[in-house]
C-alpha cells in the first residue's frame, strides 16, 4: 500500500483551503435550500468525519477494518440515550452542541475495550476480528432491546434540548451549520494528528512493523492508540448523526455501514488527507441520488469500486493528483492531446456501458420489456436488437480505442520524449 503523505501534505500546509472550504460549506445551503438538499449536505458532513476516522486506520496505520460501524453506531446510541434523557427532563441538561462529544467518548470507550485484543496483529487477522466483532455487535443490537431499541431503533428530539448559543435546532439549516462546525473541528484534529510523532509512527508501523519495533516503538501500542482515536472520531460522527436524523437503529452498526465507509474511503483515495473527504461526500451523494435515477445503482457502485481497485489504487484524488503533478512537471507537453483522447474515449466507453446496463435492467426487470423506454433521452424498444447493438458498439469502440489506440499512442509519445531527453 504505497502512500503519498509527503506530497499530499506539503500542498495542504498552505492554509487557504482551510478557510475557503468552510466558507463554501457555509454558502452551500443558501444555494441548495430545499430541506432534502440540506439534509444531504449534513449527511455528507457526517460521512466525511466517519471516513476520515476510517482512514486513520486504513490509510495511516494500514489496518483494514470491516467493522468500523461498531464505533460509529455505539457512539450514536449512547448519544441518543443522552438526548432522550435530556428530552425527558424537559430540555434540561447538556447543550445539543456538545452531544457529539458524548458520542466521541462512547466511541473511545468501546475502541479501548475492543482495541485491546483486536490490534495485536495487523492484516487479515485484524480484518477478520473486526468482521466478527461487527457481526457480534450487530446481532446484539437486535437482542439487547433496552439499549438498542430493537429493530425499530430509538428516537429523540433535537429541538427539545438546550443550546449553548440559543440557536433553535428545529430547522435543518441550523443543524447543518453545527455539522459544518464539527466537521471542521474533527478534520483539523485528524489532520494535526497525522503531523504528530504518533502519526508518523503509525505510517512506520504500516510500512514496516519490524523496523518500527527495532527503533523502539511497539507496533501494537501504536496501532492501539490509532485504533482508539479512530473509534473516538467515528463515535463523534455517530453523535452528530443523532442530531441530524433524530433516529438511530441497528443500521448504524451493521455490515453495510461498515462496508460503505470502506468503499467511500477507498474510492476517494486512502493515501491522501482529502481522499476520505471526497469519497465520503461522493458516496453519500450517490447513495441518496443515484438510486432515484436508476435501479442499477448498486451495480454501478460495485463496478466503480472494482475499477478503482484495479486501475487507480490511489483513488479518485490519486488520479487527479498524479495527473496534476505530471502536468506541473511538464509531463503533458506534446502529449496533452493523447491524454485528452484517452479520457474522451474512456468516457465514450463508459457511456456505452451505462446504456447496456440500463437496457439490461429494463429488459430483465420491467414487466413489459417492449414498453417504450427512455434511454439517454432517446426512446427505444429494449426487445429490439438495434439499441443493444448501438450501445454495445459505443462501449466497444470507446474502450477499444482507449486501450488499443489511445494507450499505445500515449506510451509512444512518452517513450519518444524520454528518448529525446536522453539524446
Amino acid at each position: 500500500m504505497a502512500t503519498n503523505t509527503a506530497a499530499g501534505g506539503t500542498n495542504l500546509l498552505k492554509l487557504w483551503p482551510w478557510v475557503v472550504v468552510p466558507l463554501v460549506a457555509i454558502v452551500l445551503p443558501f444555494i441548495f435550500d430545499s430541506g432534502h438538499a440540506i439534509n444531504l449536505l449534513s449527511h455528507m458532513g457526517v460521512a466525511i468525519i466517519f471516513a476520515l476516522s476510517y482512514n486513520m486506520l486504513l490509510g495511516n496505520t494500514g489496518l483494514l477494518s470491516f467493522g468500523h460501524a461498531v464505533y460509529y453506531g455505539l457512539g450514536a446510541f449512547v448519544a441518543m440515550h443522552l438526548l432522550r434523557s435530556i428530552n425527558d427532563a424537559g430540555g434540561e441538561g447538556l447543550p445539543l452542541e456538545l452531544l457529539p462529544v458524548v458520542g466521541a467518548g462512547a466511541g473511545l470507550f468501546f475502541g479501548i475495550i475492543f482495541g485491546t485484543f483486536s490490534v495485536r496483529r495487523a492484516g487479515v487477522v485484524f480484518a477478520m476480528i473486526t468482521l466478527g466483532l461487527g457481526a457480534l455487535v450487530h446481532s446484539s443490537s437486535l437482542m439487547f432491546t433496552d439499549f438498542f431499541g430493537g429493530e425499530a431503533g430509538l428516537f429523540g428530539y433535537r429541538d427539545e434540548a438546550p443550546s449553548l448559543f440559543g440557536v433553535d435546532y428545529a430547522p435543518s439549516r441550523n443543524v447543518y451549520f453545527l455539522v459544518v462546525a464539527w466537521t471542521f473541528i474533527a478534520a483539523i484534529l485528524i489532520y494535526l494528528l497525522r503531523k504528530t510523532p504518533l502519526g508518523w509512527m503509525a505510517n512506520a508501523v504500516r510500512d514496516n512493523p519490524e523496523r518500527a519495533q527495532f527503533v523502539g516503538y511497539n507496533p501494537t501500542i501504536v496501532r492501539f492508540i490509532q485504533f482508539a482515536l479512530s473509534a473516538m472520531f467515528a463515535g463523534l460522527a455517530g453523535g452528530l448523526f443523532v442530531i441530524t436524523d433524530e433516529i438511530v437503529n441497528d443500521e448504524a452498526v451493521n455490515a453495510l455501514t461498515s462496508g460503505a465507509v470502506l468503499l467511500g474511503t477507498y474510492i476517494g483515495g486512502i493515501g491522501y488527507f482529502i481522499g476520505p473527504i471526497v469519497g465520503g461526500t461522493l458516496v453519500t451523494f450517490l447513495e441518496s441520488s443515484l438510486s432515484t435515477y436508476t435501479e442499477a445503482w448498486v451495480l454501478y457502485f460495485g463496478l466503480m469500486f472494482i475499477a478503482i481497485v484495479m486501475f487507480a489504487p490511489m483513488g479518485l484524488v490519486g488520479i487527479v493528483h498524479t495527473q496534476y503533478l505530471s502536468w506541473k512537471a511538464g509531463g503533458w507537453k506534446g502529449n496533452t492531446g493523447a491524454r485528452l483522447y484517452i479520457l474522451l474515449t474512456g468516457l465514450v466507453g463508459i457511456f456505452g456501458l451505462i446504456c447496456v446496463i440500463e437496457l439490461a435492467y429494463h429488459y430483465f426487470r420491467s414487466w413489459d420489456p417492449s414498453a417504450p423506454f427512455a434511454l439517454m433521452g432517446v426512446t427505444v424498444d429494449a426487445t429490439n436488437a438495434l439499441p443493444w447493438l448501438v450501445s454495445f458498439g459505443i462501449a466497444i469502440i470507446g474502450f477499444g480505442l482507449m486501450l488499443f489506440h489511445g494507450n499505445p499512442m500515449l506510451k509512444r509519445k512518452l517513450d519518444a520524449k524520454s528518448d529525446g531527453g536522453k539524446a
Binding site: 475557503v20 463554501v24 437486535l142 430547522p171 482529502i274 445503482w297
Partner: protein
C-alpha cells in the same frame, strides 16, 4: 488546491443537477402525487416492486374513471433500501417536491421511523404537511402508544390478526391441543409470541403452548433443527408470523420431515411463498388475511374478479394480493373529494377518520380513535383446487372461515394528539 476545487465543483454541479430535476413545481391542477417509499433495490426489491405494481395499477384504473376531483393520481416510486433513516430522507424529499401523501408498508421498523418523521415534519413545517398511509406494517404500537393523527393503517394490526385467529381456533378446540410458536426474532415475532400465549388463556382455548421459539430474521437456511423441536414437543398446530423465505423454508422443512401439523400464518400467500412451498402446503398452510383471490369466486364479486383478472393480464408473473391497497386508494379518493382539495392535509385526515367504505368484502371502517381500519377477515388454507392459484404456483387458497368485523376488533389505548 486543484483537488479541493475540482471536487467542490463536481459535487456542486451534481447537486445542482439533482435539485433542478427535483424542483419542478406542480400546479394545483397537476396530478395528485403519492410517494411510494419501499425497497426497490437490494434483497427486498421484489416485495417493493410488487406493491408498486399494485399501486400503479390501482391509480391507472382510477384515472380511467376520472381520477380524483378530475386530477390524475400519480405514484412516485422512491427506493428506501429497506432502511428507516433512508425513508426519513425520502419523506423530506417528498415534502420538498410538494407531495402530500406518502405510503409504505414493509417493515414496522421503517413504519415507526416514518411516523416519527411525518409527525416531526408536520409540527415543524406547518405549510407542507404530509399524510402517511400505511398499507402493510402491522406493529400494534403504531395505533396504540405511538399513534399519530397523520398515520392511517389499512391493514389489520398484528393484535387484530391474532384476535381473529384465536377466535377461529376457539371453534376448533377439538382439533387443537398443542400449539407451537415459531417466530422471527424482532418486535413483530416477539409480539406474536407474547400475545398468542396471553390469548390462549384469555379465550379459554382448550390447548397449551408447548413450544415458543425465536429465530433470527433471514439467517436460518435450514429449519430442520426447529422442525425436530416441533416434532419432539408433540405439537399439532404451529403459529408463525414469518414472512418471505423464513416462511417458505419453514414450511418446506416441516413437509420434508413428514410432520403432520397445521400451520397458521399471516403471510402464507405473500409474494414468493406459494411458489416456494407449492403443493406441499396443501391443507396445512393457513393464512389470516382481509381477502384472497377465491373470495371473489365464493362471493360472486364479479367486478372485483375483473379487476383481479386485468391485473393478471398486465402483470402475468404476479397476482393482485393487497386488497387493502384497493381500500386505501378508494378511501383516500373519497376523503379528498369530501374536502374538495388535495392540499388541506388536516381536513383530509379528519375526513378519513371514522370513514365507512363499501369494500367488495363488506363495510370497512377507519376507526377515528386510532386510525386503524376494521374489516372482515378470512382464514384460508392452501389448496391446489382453488380457482386462482397464487403467482402461477399451482396452489391457491380456499376459505376455511369468514371472520366478521366484530371478531376482528381489538380495543386501542391510543391517546392521539390532534391539531
Amino acid at each position: 488546491m486543484l483537488r479541493n476545487k475540482k471536487t467542490g465543483l463536481f459535487t456542486g454541479t451534481m447537486i445542482g443537477l439533482s435539485m433542478a430535476i427535483s424542483s419542478i413545481t406542480y400546479a394545483q391542477d397537476g396530478p395528485i402525487r403519492i410517494s411510494y417509499i419501499e425497497p426497490l433495490s437490494g434483497p427486498f426489491a421484489n416485495v417493493g416492486d410488487q406493491g408498486l405494481k399494485h399501486f400503479r395499477f390501482a391509480a391507472e384504473k382510477m384515472n380511467e374513471q376520472g381520477g380524483i376531483l378530475g386530477r390524475d393520481i400519480e405514484i412516485v416510486a422512491m427506493d428506501n433500501k429497506q432502511s428507516p433513516s433512508e425513508s426519513v430522507q425520502l419523506i423530506q424529499r417528498s415534502v420538498d417536491d410538494g407531495i402530500k401523501f406518502v405510503t409504505q408498508g414493509n417493515g414496522s421498523n421503517v413504519a415507526g421511523a416514518m411516523v416519527e418523521a411525518v409527525d416531526r415534519n408536520n409540527r415543524r413545517n406547518e405549510d407542507n404537511k404530509v399524510l402517511y398511509l400505511n398499507y402493510a406494517a402491522v406493529d400494534p404500537a403504531l395505533t396504540n402508544e405511538r399513534c399519530s393523527f397523520y398515520h392511517f393503517r389499512f391493514d389489520a394490526a398484528s393484535d387484530i390478526k391474532l384476535e381473529a385467529l384465536s377466535n377461529y381456533m376457539k371453534t376448533r378446540d377439538d382439533d387443537i391441543d398443542k400449539i407451537f410458536l415459531i417466530n422471527m426474532d424482532y418486535s413483530h415475532g416477539q409480539f406474536i409470541s407474547k400475545r398468542m400465549k396471553e390469548l390462549v388463556d384469555e379465550k379459554g382455548l382448550d390447548a397449551e403452548v408447548v413450544g415458543d421459539v425465536m429465530h433470527p430474521i433471514g439467517q436460518v437456511r435450514d429449519f430442520s433443527p426447529y422442525v425436530s423441536r416441533i416434532q419432539q414437543s408433540g405439537a399439532d398446530t404451529v403459529v408463525s408470523g414469518n414472512w418471505g423465505n423464513d416462511l417458505s423454508l419453514l414450511v418446506r422443512a416441516i413437509d420434508s420431515a413428514g410432520l403432520d401439523v397445521n400451520i397458521y400464518t399471516y403471510y402464507g400467500g405473500g409474494l414468493g411463498t406459494p411458489a416456494a412451498v407449492g403443493p406441499r402446503g396443501e391443507d396445512k398452510l393457513h393464512q389470516i388475511t382481509e381477502w384472497h383471490a377465491d373470495v371473489n369466486v365464493d362471493e360472486g364479486l364479479e367486478d372485483y374478479e375483473k379487476w383481479f383478472q386485468e391485473f393478471k393480464e398486465r402483470y402475468p408473473e404476479i397476482d393482485w394480493y393487497y386488497h387493502r391497497i384497493y381500500n386505501q386508494m378508494h378511501m383516500l379518493k373519497a376523503a379528498i373529494e369530501e374536502v374538495g382539495n388535495a392540499e388541506d392535509i388536516d381536513a383530509i385526515a379528519k375526513a378519513l377518520e371514522g370513514m365507512e367504505f363499501d369494500s367488495p368484502t363488506g363495510t370497512v371502517t377507519m376507526r377515528a380513535q386510532d386510525h386503524q381500519i376494521l374489516q372482515p377477515m378470512y382464514l384460508s388454507v392452501m389448496d391446489t383446487e382453488a380457482k386462482y392459484d397464487a403467482d402461477n404456483s399451482g396452489v391457491g387458497f380456499r376459505t376455511v372461515a369468514n371472520i366478521p368485523v366484530e371478531q376482528a376488533t381489538v380495543d386501542t389505548t391510543c391517546d392521539m394528539r390532534r391539531p
